[in-house]
């Protein structure tokens, strides 16, 4: 338990990269990139957790409660927005790529070489 969350984050990262490397479909590759990114959320929040802590939202909790780290949560929020927008942009590129190349298979893209 002491390192499990960190190791899970590492696993998610590597499996996502594996998917990117072996992908035969660019849409799938973009999905794998999203998976890779979720490793960063897991690591951030795992680092911010405190045993017995509760969310630093004091609307329904006394202000002296033991809380988890609010900063990493804010960072994770930012990170999620970044991920969603990057995904959107890359998918837009894939849509156009398919129109101009007639394929979404990275193996068949051969315009840029050498």
């Amino acid at each position: 338990m002491t390192v499990l969350p960190y190791l899970v984050a590492g696993w998610i990262f590597l499996i996502g990269v594996y998917g990117l490397v072996t992908s035969r479909d660019l849409i799938h590759a973009v999905g794998c990139l999203a998976v890779t990114q979720s490793s960063t959320y897991v690591l951030l929040l795992a680092v911010g957790y405190r045993n017995g802590g509760t969310a630093p939202v004091f609307a329904d909790a006394p202000t002296n409660s033991r809380v988890v780290d609010p900063v990493v949560q804010a960072l994770a929020l930012t990170d999620i927005v970044v991920g969603a927008t990057v995904t959107a942009l890359l998918l837009a590129l894939v849509v156009q790529l398919r129109k101009r190349h007639g394929t979404v298979d990275p193996d068949a893209l051969s315009e840029l070489k050498g």
Partner: protein
């Protein structure tokens, strides 16, 4: 007890991430991604981060898979203009 929930959620997330990568068909992957989004939201709630859970829920289980589906729909609507058979990615058949 919280620890047990966290461990189960972590393993679910790891499993869902693996499944999302190994499902080579984008439509199938979109569904697994939305599952991944939901389990991540659960994990974040257990890690006392409801704010992050909410946005993960909104983005990961709704917007991202929806965009993937729309892209697939556009991409598969018709064969490519320069298609010579090579435009048929593996795992396209369901």
């Amino acid at each position: 007890m919280t620890d047990v929930l966290i461990v189960v959620a972590l393993l679910l997330v790891a499993g869902a991430a693996t499944a999302a990568v190994l499902n080579r068909d984008p439509v199938r992957q979109a569904l697994v991604l939305s599952f991944l989004g939901l389990t991540l939201a659960l994990l974040f709630t257990f890690l006392q981060a409801p704010d992050v859970a909410l946005s993960q829920l909104a983005v990961g289980s709704a917007v991202t898979p929806l965009m993937i589906l729309l892209t697939v729909r556009k991409v598969r609507r018709r064969p490519g203009s320069g298609g010579d058979g090579a435009d048929k990615p593996a795992g396209r058949e369901r």
